[in-house]
């Protein structure tokens, strides 16, 4: 009996982690679908995590209010960040947004209100596994509904060729802004859930290492596929638990898996199950 309880105690944390990681993967996926290599989602999640934790611990806000406030904070910061990086593309955008993430980590490390390097403890542990998966389901349904709108077409056109997208009337600047803000909202939700599910925050929780993990999930899942991003996050979150011996070498195994995917399946998981049909020869 004790073994069974241990099993659930152990694995409920794993399930929580998978759900939150899936949300983080979706937040980056939203940006990648618009062709933006913006690596600011970990930083945005960090801002939201600290915001909701501080509101709960210091000001006694109830959970829903602190989560909402955290999402608003992440969207606001994402919107402010979108302006200076609006003309940056590709690797330049990636570097600028990684820099933003480092600013967030440095602030968390040095501000008195975040608890500095010692971290922030005593956060109410009031986010349960159903809340996490309910949030994930909500975001998934919202993204599926969004995929049927003209906004999704504008996103795909911006990704494929932004000059040609402008030529057919797409406001590319607005698409880029909206995809950063939407990614910020999802990252904010993930960060707030994380703070209340794991009830301890340290500045490194949402640093560059986490951002790099999120990118790896999206790449092995399939860069432009939200389903792939979730699958990639779940796969790499479960893997070290399945093969305990690998857990200590997770950075090495992640790197190897990333290399294998880039070399042999550049479309990621999504590319494997959605093989493009060969064009029929002209009649």
């Amino acid at each position: 009996m004790n073994v069974l309880v241990d099993f659930f105690a152990h694995h409920s944390r794993l399930f929580d982690q998978i759900g939150i990681n899936a949300l983080l993967a979706l937040s980056l996926s939203v940006s990648l679908q618009a062709g933006q290599l913006a690596l600011c989602q970990a930083g945005l999640a960090g801002i939201a995590a600290y915001t909701s934790a501080i509101l709960s611990v210091q000001f006694g806000w109830p959970l829903p209010a602190s989560i909402l406030a955290a999402i608003v904070a992440a969207v606001l910061v994402a919107s402010l960040l979108a302006y200076p990086v609006r003309k940056l593309r590709g690797i330049f955008l990636a570097i600028a947004t990684v820099g933003f993430g480092e600013i967030v980590r440095a602030l968390a490390n040095n501000l008195p209100i975040t608890g500095g390097a010692e971290g922030l403890s005593g956060i109410p542990n009031d986010v349960t596994t159903p809340i996490i998966y309910g949030s994930l389901a909500f975001v998934a349904v919202a993204l599926v509904l969004l995929a049927r709108t003209k906004f999704a077409l504008a996103v795909a056109l911006t990704r494929e060729d932004d000059a040609a997208a402008r030529g057919v009337g797409v406001d590319v600047g607005m698409v880029r802004f909206a995809s950063l803000a939407l990614g910020g909202a999802i990252a904010g939700l993930a960060g707030a859930l994380y703070a209340h599910a794991f009830f301890f925050l340290a500045p490194g929780d949402f640093g560059f290492g986490r951002m790099e993990q999120i990118l790896v999930w999206c790449v092995i899942g399939g860069v432009t596929s939200p389903v792939g991003a979730v699958a990639g996050a779940a796969f790499l979150s479960v893997l070290p638990e399945l093969i305990r011996k690998l857990a200590d070498f997770s950075e090495i195994t992640n790197g190897l898996i990333l290399l294998i995917v880039i070399l042999f399946a550049p479309g990621g998981f999504a590319g494997l199950w959605r093989r493009r049909p060969r064009a029929a020869p002209d009649a």
Partner: protein, 241 residues
């Protein structure tokens, strides 16, 4: 002619280089105007200025009396100007259906499959499957799919940037019929082309650019006889041959 495209004294500078200087021309609905000139004469710059990719430094551009100069490309596209590109710019990873939906982006709703097939037929590629990826199509079909995508916007003015590039004489002959049919539907066409056979067959008027300025204008027959044009453009082409 307030219902067409009117360029008045348009100039474009890239730093110290004057790419276009004091160019005026108009394209009325249903009329095909050819724009010719040697390489570097400013033909594509003129299309880029009209579609908002570069801002004109002088002059005005108006469509149906409404000023377009200074607007961003997406607003100009919505105003009724569609274009094709010298180097094909289809959404290659997306299928034919989605490329046509992209063309109609500024219009309410999405084109139905019947609408899409009608657009393909007007561009002379009725045989294409709606779900084939654009990048997998043969080159000539890609050029025509760009025309179909532009038509999907139901434009007032259509700008074709070297639509016959890379086509053989038979394909070029078919393209003339396609262009004439589009003009008969009441769309004004500005056609950039090097192929004089195509220009003579398809255009009502021709404007010749050289070093960013208008060198001559007139009917295709008048232009072919103009000594200045022959020297600047046709003559130099024969020197190379």
């Amino acid at each position: 002619m307030p219902d067409g495209l009117v360029l008045d004294g348009v100039g474009v500078r890239y730093g110290g280089v004057i790419a276009l200087h004091d160019v005026s021309l108009s394209v009325e609905p249903g009329v095909t105007v050819g724009l010719i000139g040697p390489n570097g004469a400013g033909k594509t710059t003129l299309i880029n200025a009209t579609t908002g990719i570069v801002a004109p430094s002088t002059g005005t551009i108006a469509l149906g009396g409404r000023r377009l100069d200074g607007l961003p490309p997406n607003r100009i596209a919505r105003a009724g100007i569609a274009r094709t590109y010298q180097n094909i710019r289809l959404f290659g990873a997306l299928d034919v259906r989605t490329n046509l939906a992209a063309g109609a982006f500024a219009r309410p709703g999405r084109p139905s499959d019947d609408d899409a097939r009608a657009l393909l037929a007007r561009a002379g590629i009725a045989h294409l499957a709606l779900d084939s990826p654009a990048a997998a199509l043969p080159y000539g079909d890609q050029r025509r799919l760009e025309i179909a995508r532009a038509l999907a916007a139901r434009p007032t003015i259509l700008m074709l940037d070297e639509p016959a590039a890379g086509m053989n004489p038979t394909e070029t002959g078919r393209l003339v019929e396609t262009i004439k049919a589009i003009a008969r539907d009441g769309i004004g066409i500005l056609l950039i082309e090097h192929d004089m056979t195509l220009v003579r067959a398809a255009c009502d008027r021709v404007v010749v650019l050289n070093f960013g300025q208008v060198l001559a204008r007139g009917t295709p027959a008048e232009i072919a006889r103009d000594p200045a044009v022959v020297e600047a453009y046709l003559g130099s082409a024969e020197d190379i041959a």
